[in-house]
Symmetry: C2
Subunit: 308 residues, 2 copies
Amino acid sequence: MGGDYAPDATIEGAILAQKKLSSVDRIFLFGPHEIIEHALQKKKADPSSFTIIHSPQIIGMGERPIKAYTHKPESSISKGLKYLKTKQIDTFSSAGNSGATLVGAMYSVNNIQGVIRPSTLTCIPRENGGMNVMLDIGTNPDIKPDILYQFAILGSIYSQSVLNVKNPKVGLLNIGEEDEKGNLLCQSAFRLMKDSVDFNFYGNIESRDLFKNKADVIVCDGFTGNIVLKQIEAMYRMMVKRNLVDDYIQKFNYENYGGSPILGVNGSVVIGHGISNAKAIMNMILLSKNIFEVKLTNKIKKAMLKHT
Amino acid sequence: MGGDYAPDATIEGAILAQKKLSSVDRIFLFGPHEIIEHALQKKKADPSSFTIIHSPQIIGMGERPIKAYTHKPESSISKGLKYLKTKQIDTFSSAGNSGATLVGAMYSVNNIQGVIRPSTLTCIPRENGGMNVMLDIGTNPDIKPDILYQFAILGSIYSQSVLNVKNPKVGLLNIGEEDEKGNLLCQSAFRLMKDSVDFNFYGNIESRDLFKNKADVIVCDGFTGNIVLKQIEAMYRMMVKRNLVDDYIQKFNYENYGGSPILGVNGSVVIGHGISNAKAIMNMILLSKNIFEVKLTNKIKKAMLKHT
């Protein structure tokens, strides 16, 4: 039931994803059984080729995350994360209330030991090919330098594992390139990061270089990251509306990415965009599988062991 | 000598501006006398139609603002601001070291009484015509809610006086529209602003709405504003490079605006972009004249009297 176009877009996305998965993979659908079955039949899909887990409660997009998650144990988010925790499923993804998914992930599978704050991340297409990643994109609006330092580790592991970037360079999003620039957070973070052996620190990076390949991983507080992300979305929508789109600009379409993984929790969880259409849902499911297969969680666990 | 293309672009800009000004206006040029005279002659302009104030010292773009300003009293920035203070000129603008101009303005003409922190501002073209203004754009990377509150007043006066917007709506740049959203700074600022009678508070505004006409004045800390501004510049440059430009996108060309006024000091001062070409310099000069003519400084003084 998650997302603005559920259940139809969600179901259609699941059907599309199923076609791309191998026969040993199985998609579990969490939601009201009858609604799911009806939506599958409408799309001429065989309900028996999915595992439907009846989850009758629905968390609205505007509900308070903690309250919604704890008061609605029969919602798809609560039930799905329980299945993830008990390893009945390997990955969980939802385009529903993202705060509830985040809080639920932290309450159910918990943070990886040593991770101060889990983070969410986005991909930014580069002008000359490839992808940068940026984190945090909204989960942590107020943070301290040691958290930014951890984001650099989390982002580097993601860039290496999922995007196959060797020795990714980490840039600190800042308002100048010089070492001493920025607000107090960035100034302190820079000093922490500058001689790091835990990742390949590039230095400060300005927002004018977001689309370049100066840094593969761009770290910032979740307030700044969210502002940057929504401005990218605004730019993309403006370009589409004005018919100013080429192959590169088209890469900014969120539906190609499927969503944002939650980095730093003990399981593969992906948060989809609330406005997800079927293609976005499909990519969300495929991304969550990808993250599981590259053993992202284990890699983060190993890296964190070094720090605790 | 200010700006990457000085003295030629600067001089050419002054010549262009002179043609747009009335015969009672007079442009003072601050810099090494011989260089200025030579550059004017190269452009076939009559040196006697300008007032040249010999300022032999040069502040480099990379110099530390306070040190440069205080140690180089014979630089164009130091000397120009002295002329402004003693009312030998009515407005001052420079595309040179912006930190030095800012610090110099605060040291020479001083802050307007009651202004905690002067601010710099940018114009953002709207999709459906007109302009939003955003402040702060980098002068104040770390601020408190009461400073954001003052930015709302400063920005409103600018929007009214310079852009002729009646009763401008002030939006607080945030990562969600709901009242309680954001980082600690925004949450506190929202509470301060919500019942304000000093300006017309719209509420929170997200970066996806920067180009819309939801809010006429968008306030944020200087770190966030600088990130947003440079991302807009990156977008514009990307569009130009990819030949994806229409009349609206063309409005993002910085050279149309001339620079950023310093709001909250006792005089009309405009900071130009370091990469200013002749057209940008011309518009910088015309903007500084405009700000003087609409009595922006006096209006801010009056508004601040109410608050002290």
